[in-house]
Subunit: 173 residues, 2 copies
DNA sequence: TAAGTAGCGTCAGTGACTGACGTCAAGTAG
DNA sequence: CTACTTGACGTCAGTCACTGACGCTACTTA
C-alpha cells in the first residue's frame, strides 16, 4: 500500500514491493498469485459474511429483502475498515488494471450470493437476477457512501433499495 | 480466433498470432493495445447502437422501459453476429483474464447507458442504478439466450424484465 | 519533384511471472 | 539424541507481454 500510494500501482515493481517487505521477489509470488491480488485479500471475509447473512436472514422474506438484510449486516465490515478501505479504493479507482480485478471480484461475490439465495429455495433463474440487481443497489450505495460520508452506509442502502422500487413501479411492463 | 480455439488463449503467444496474420509481432501491438483486446473489437458498435437507441426511444417511457426498448433493438446486433459471437463467448468463458476484460467492458457500457439516460432527463442517481439494473437483466437474458437458443433474444429480454418486476413487487420495502 | 506521412520491420530493452533446485530451521518419529 | 520430513525461503534461468527508438518504403500532397 505504501508503494502503491507513493508511486502509483503501475510504477511499482514487484521487486520493490518484495524489497520493502524484506523478502525475495520469488517469495512475493509465493504469497500472492499476482501483483494485483495484494489489494484483494479481505475478499474471503466479505464473502463468508455475505453468505452467512443470506443464510441466516429471517424466513419468509422476499429475495430482495433478504439481500437488503444481508448487505446491511455485512456492510459493517466495510464501515469498520474504513481507514483501510479508503486509500485502497482510491488506488483502485485510478488504475484500470485494478478496476478490472475489482469487477471480477464483485462478479464472483454476486455469484456466491446467488448460490446462497438458491440454497434458501429461491428459484434458479430468479436467484441470479436478484443477486445481480441487489448487488447493483449495494454497489450504488457503497459509492454514495464514499462520496457522501455524512450519511452512514445503512441509510444509503435503504435509499438505493427504495430507488429500485421506484424504478420498477414506474415501469409498465 | 483460430489460434485461441486451437490452443486456448493462454497457450497462444502474440508472436504466433502475428505470424498467422502474416505480420510482425510489433505490428500486432500497433493494431491492438494488448492481447486481450482482439476479442473486444466490436464493442464500439454495440456502444453506439445502445446510446442511439436510448436517445431515440419514445418519449414518456419510464427509465427501465427505455432500456428494454434499447436492448431489444441493439440485441439484433448480437443475433446477427451469432456465428461469430458463439465461439468468442466460449473462449471468454473459459479464460479468467478474458472474463475480467469482459466485465470491464460491460461496466464501461453500463456507464455509457447511464449517461444516455441522463441526457434524456432521468435523474442522476436513478440513471446509474437503472443502467446497472437494466444491464443485469440484459446480461441475464443474453446468458439464457446462449443456453436456450430455442427462444430468441427478444423473448428472453421480455422474460428477464418481467422477472425484475416480480422481484420488486414481492419485496416489502 | 521534394517533402511529408503512414504503416511496417528490427532491435534492444523492462518487468511480471514460472519452474527447478538448493538451503536451512523447526518439528517428529524412532 | 539422531535421522527424516516438511515448509518457508533464496537463487537462477527462462518465457512472454509489451514498449521505445530507429530506419525503410510506398504513397500523398503541395
Amino acid at each position: 500500500m505504501e508503494l502503491y500510494q507513493e508511486r502509483g500501482f503501475d510504477q511499482t515493481t514487484t521487486a520493490e514491493i518484495a524489497a520493502r517487505a524484506g523478502v525475495n521477489e520469488r517469495t512475493f509470488f509465493r504469497h500472492f498469485p499476482d501483483k494485483r491480488e495484494v489489494l484483494f485479500d479481505g475478499e474471503a471475509d466479505l464473502r463468508a459474511a455475505l453468505m452467512h447473512e443470506v443464510a441466516e436472514a429471517p424466513e419468509g422474506l422476499a429475495p430482495l429483502d433478504v439481500l437488503l438484510h444481508a448487505f446491511r449486516k455485512a456492510g459493517r465490515i466495510l464501515e469498520e475498515n474504513r481507514p483501510f478501505s479508503e486509500p485502497r479504493l482510491a488506488v483502485i479507482a485510478v488504475t484500470p488494471a485494478l478496476r478490472e480485478r475489482d469487477l471480477a471480484k464483485a462478479a464472483s461475490l454476486t455469484e456466491a450470493v446467488a448460490e446462497a439465495l438458491r440454497r434458501r429455495g429461491v428459484e434458479d433463474r430468479l436467484a441470479g437476477l436478484a443477486a445481480q440487481t441487489g448487488w447493483a443497489a449495494f454497489h450504488h450505495a457503497a459509492q454514495a457512501w464514499i462520496d457522501t460520508p455524512s450519511q452512514n452506509l445503512d441509510a444509503h442502502l435503504l435509499h438505493a433499495f427504495d430507488d429500485l422500487h421506484t424504478l420498477a413501479a414506474a415501469s409498465n411492463r
